[in-house]
Subunit: 661 residues, 2 copies
């Protein structure tokens, strides 16, 4: 009946950050901290200690840091992630008999009570502790015990008994016989790029100067220099595989392709090959690996699109008909979302009897491209494949290649997006694409950064994608493009654009839809890189600002502050040591100039009171001298809708003399 040691009196509850009681690991990148909090308490009035224990999973010994007691029996401590390996942590608590005794001694002394017996008890506790100590400390403890027990001056005995030296010595060798331990929780650790990244999406087939011809990997390689110069980290390519010929879609998603129509790259597979082949119009596998190498030389990475689906003529369909659902007439069931039909795409049946061979084959696709040098995968529609599959796949892949990153392209319901992140996706597309007002943006950022989501859901903000041309930029014109770009890149440490169309401010949409007219998904585009509309310079500047300001390289430090104009949104990001302080003030109205007063919580930023400070707009390079907590801002969207201020907090001067010279 009594199975556990009933003398474990310390209770440990309410540990954060954990996900679904530890069913999933929390996520961090190398260099981030894990701040653990827990309710730790015991019956009665004894003093406690609590420790945070942590280690890379594979190590045998725990590192340990004492937790600090906060309000309401909550204890806290942090540790830093130093290696790109999975970490474990747990919380321990024990009764601190020495502190309990010391506290009682002080109170009794203060109350003028006799403490002779207490001193004897303390000495005995010190002698016991000495038996656990190393020889140096043991000697010292025994020496101090002698004083505490027998000093002819009781004042001196109490002074020694309650002095710092003894507190430190006793704290080094606590009696943890009846210590309580929480369960062990995991931290999945990824490289920094999981948290800080700039993505540029590019269809290699449009990398051509000849509109009549299909672009190639070789031509694509030539574009990489420009993209690297703009400061992007990742060039993401839509699927590069052979495109199905059966049921191929024509321009603007028409059901019948015309001769020469290239089809949608997401309709993967033909007689030419499937997910492990490259479309021969793009070049050879060697051309592709050269492209990957060229990127590496430029310090950027190629990300591939993983779309686990097939064209009707994908070789899998003949080789593994059991992986697909059949219609009642025996034909293969194409993808549908009634009444919409995707006749050029066949989904896998994750409920098929042969699901294990299917899972293994799909994993082999990832392994294949890892072998070709790819470490970043943007996964198409992961929410239409089984969650258990992703959990398994990502875990398996990361076991051999912990540097692989997965971006979940799931624009769907919150619970599904969150679950995908829990199952292991490194980054996730978000609703940013449709959040435009101050209320929408600040609440959404609050949800992403101030709730449990922050421990597993890393957002990636995209102002556009080949699938989505939001109304805001369709109708807001160039100022809207500028605004949404700067918001994406400063609100979120991960952002990306469907590159050419954004760079060139393409805003022609299908009537009453948020879809591109003449979408690149169904045709080869010939981009005019020298268009007057090009945002290239601005993009370059944004990416450089992100690179030079570490405050912008994380997500979790964002704070919103008040302005007196609903169109003016004001947020700050800072490094924890305040060595880098960035204020962003955005005019969310792309049509009109807006002005107003912003509230600077200068105490929080340790800006000295009664002294001016410089805010330096890193976009326009203008500098303004601000003073106190209320400052005026005016933003004309036609000139520049956003200030990105680097705040130069002047140090307090020794004397006024310095001020005048």
């Amino acid at each position: 009946m009594i199975n556990t040691d009933g003398r474990k009196r310390v209770v440990i509850e309410g540990i954060t950050p954990i996900i679904d009681n530890g069913a999933f690991p929390i996520k961090r990148v190398v260099g981030e901290e894990v701040t653990v909090a827990a309710d730790v308490f015991a019956d009665g009035h004894d003093e406690l200690q609590a420790a945070l224990m942590y280690k890379p999973v594979s190590e045998r010994t725990w590192s340990e840091t004492l937790m600090r007691k906060k309000e309401n029996d909550r204890w806290m401590a942090s540790f830093s992630i130093e290696e790109m390996v999975t970490y474990s942590f747990m919380v321990c608590g024990w009764i601190d008999a020495f502190s309990t005794w010391r506290k009682a001694l002080l109170i009794k002394k203060e109350a003028g009570q006799d403490v002779d017996i207490e001193l004897k008890a303390g000495g005995s506790m010190m002698r016991k502790t000495a038996s656990r100590a190393d020889s140096g400390c043991r000697k010292r403890l025994l020496y101090l015990a002698e004083i505490v027990e027998n000093d002819h001056d009781p004042e001196n005995a109490v002074a020694v008994a309650t002095g710092d030296e003894l507190v430190n010595l006793m704290g080094m060798f606590p009696d943890r016989t009846f210590e309580s331990r929480s369960a062990v929780y995991r931290v999945d650790v990824e490289r920094v790029r999981a948290l800080y990244s700039s993505w540029y999406e590019l269809f290699p087939r449009s990398c051509t100067n000849d509109p009549a011809r299909h672009g190639t990997f070789k031509e694509c390689a030539k574009r990489l220099g420009d993209i690297a110069n703009m400061g992007f980290h990742i060039v993401y390519l839509p699927p590069i595989h052979p495109i199905g010929r059966q049921n191929r879609k024509g321009k603007n998603n028409t059901v019948i392709a015309q001769p020469g129509d290239p089809g949608s790259p997401w309709a993967i597979g033909s007689a030419e090959g499937g997910h492990k082949s490259v479309n021969s119009e793009l070049g050879t596998m060697e051309d592709f690996t050269s492209l990957v190498e060229k990127a590496a030389e430029l310090g950027i990475e190629i990300a591939l699109d993983i779309a686990f689906q097939c064209a009707p003529d994908h070789p899998y369909i003949a080789e593994h008909p059991e992986w697909f659902r059949k219609r009642h007439d025996g034909s293969i069931q194409y993808a549908e979302n009634p009444p919409k039909k995707y006749e050029d795409i066949v989904p896998f049946d994750f409920e098929c009897d042969n699901w294990k061979t299917l899972w293994n084959e799909l994993k082999s696709i990832i392994d294949f491209w890892i072998d070709k040098g790819i470490r970043i995968f943007r996964v198409d529609n992961p929410h239409t494949k089984a969650f258990l599959f992703w959990e398994w796949l990502i875990k398996e892949v990361k076991e051999s290649h912990s540097d692989v990153l997965f971006l979940a392209e799931a624009f769907t319901r919150p619970r599904l997006m969150q679950r995908l992140a829990k199952t292991g996706f490194s980054q996730s597309y978000t609703y940013f694409t449709w959040r435009n007002t101050r209320w929408e943006l600040s609440h959404y950022l609050g949800e992403l950064t101030e709730t449990g989501l922050r421990d597993y859901f890393r957002p990636n903000f995209w102002p556009n994608t080949p699938d989505i041309l939001p109304e805001f930029i369709q109708y807001g014109g160039r100022p809207a493009f500028v605004l949404r770009l700067l918001l994406a890149g400063t609100l979120c440490s991960n952002y990306g654009i469907y590159g050419p169309a954004y760079e060139l401010c393409v805003k022609e949409a299908l009537p009453d839809k948020e879809e591109y007219a003449d979408s690149e998904k169904y045709e080869i585009k010939n981009w005019n890189w020298n268009s007057a509309d090009s945002l290239r310079k601005l993009i370059t500047r944004l990416n450089r600002i992100r690179e030079e300001n570490p405050a912008l390289q994380t997500m979790w430090n964002i704070r919103f502050f008040e302005t007196d104009n609903e169109f003016l949104m004001y947020y700050a990001k800072t490094t924890s040591d305040l060595s880098n302080v960035v204020f962003v003030i955005a005019n969310l109205d792309p049509f009109h100039k807006q002005s107003g007063w912003v509230q600077v919580p200068f105490e929080e930023f340790e800006i000295p009171e009664n002294q001016s400070y410089l805010v330096h707009d890193l976009i326009s390079n203008n500098k303004y001298v601000w003073y106190g907590s209320r400052n005026y801002v005016e933003l004309d969207p036609k000139i520049l809708p956003v200030h990105i201020f680097k705040v130069n907090r002047k140090l307090k001067r020794e004397n006024d003399f310095d001020y005048y010279f």
Copy 2:
């Protein structure tokens, strides 16, 4: 590597109500409902079903109720607790292939697409379902399948395929092969008295008309009639055991007792006996069992105080010295909370090597009194004994006597009080005793009834105890006594008073303390039951109102509403069918008359618009006709500080004629 069936596509998350991920059971009383919610979703766009499964733990088969889908992939269902046994529940979810198919069929039909293949597929699904069905349904399903597949009129086939009959038939025999199941969670069920109770605390030794003499069980038995007539359910007696003679405390907690001082009943044990004996000055064990029987005849219950601690001359100390901590001089360590000393009390050492024999002995004390007919224990200072001990003890006791209730007398930090409730205490003392303002009370009630606490922490509101004479009633006089009584009894379905002192409005305190002067804890009192200050009539009325208004017999239905005067607090309790609607409006200022307007959300209470309704003050018996959403209230604390309105919601009349007659 792939250990689970990967075809289980449904995810079940975020189940409520559960405590610490199921580490502790939730609590209910017989007749209450358990409303379970969970996030249930799958990949893709398939339709789902979710079911709440529940049963008494000991039964083999689950009962089942389909859950209803709410916003954001949240599903809900409820079940009723019908027996006083532990229940289990879990959530299941599965892909509903038929509904998915039916929805697609309707959309395709609407879009004018050909549905012939779909109808064939549906028929085949119906035939498969028929094979799982009983013979009547099987025949019907096959008959309908024939129509769906082959009816010459496709309109008719679609009508049958999407008709209610088929929905119902297919819903009866779902294919749950790949169903997902949550973990199984427990519900601890107690009798109604755990949720609805009125307590009267009484020192039997003061049940005497002769101030020079110690009262007895026999005299106490004579008081029971009055207490039963006042409408209390439970008479709670402080410890009735022999009181230690060694270090016995004198009047007003003086360190040296004078001859004739009876000592504190909480200093348990002497040569006469310990926790299984009765103080011979009170009478014999037979007198005690007669008292218990007398109570039962009157329809009330005796609750005993369980104080697991000893006087220095308790027999345990000689018999089991190993259960106690020794001071350095070899003497037994008395209780301390430095600088306070409780020389008349010795605590058990829950860290002693012999903790198992200690636990078993303490349990045998409970068993002993259960054997004497006691089913309710008020546990003294449970927060100074190990939590694991309580968890074990309560579980063990309830396994043989599920009708036993434990009230935790823990006035301590929130986390400790909450943990005691999790470990199994049926009811808990609360901070009500010191919550006086509208903000304090409404927020505290919010915490108790609108957070996870409601599933395990049953509050019991005490306006006073022998240990606590709050300043509010010390200085607020009789109006404060009336106010706090009526608040306790209407805010909380469990309430109690330290009877004689409250009934007679005793307010003499030690200087600058919230403690009674000449406390009954250290002396025998001679109460003047006929005092003009007696609240007996009011108490009787309050208890009758509670008995006649089921809305007041639960805790979880309380809602606070607006008034325009900070001193006027207004709350409502209703039965879920609105057959009983009670409004309470209290003037929290015991010194001055307060008036103001209260906001009645009449739509919520289904009070017909544009029609007057009657509010009947059950305390004063006054009736008021109210109209609309804003009504005026004036409360003079010297007359009556609280309205307890029963709201008579008039039914809508058929015609105006009725109105005039």
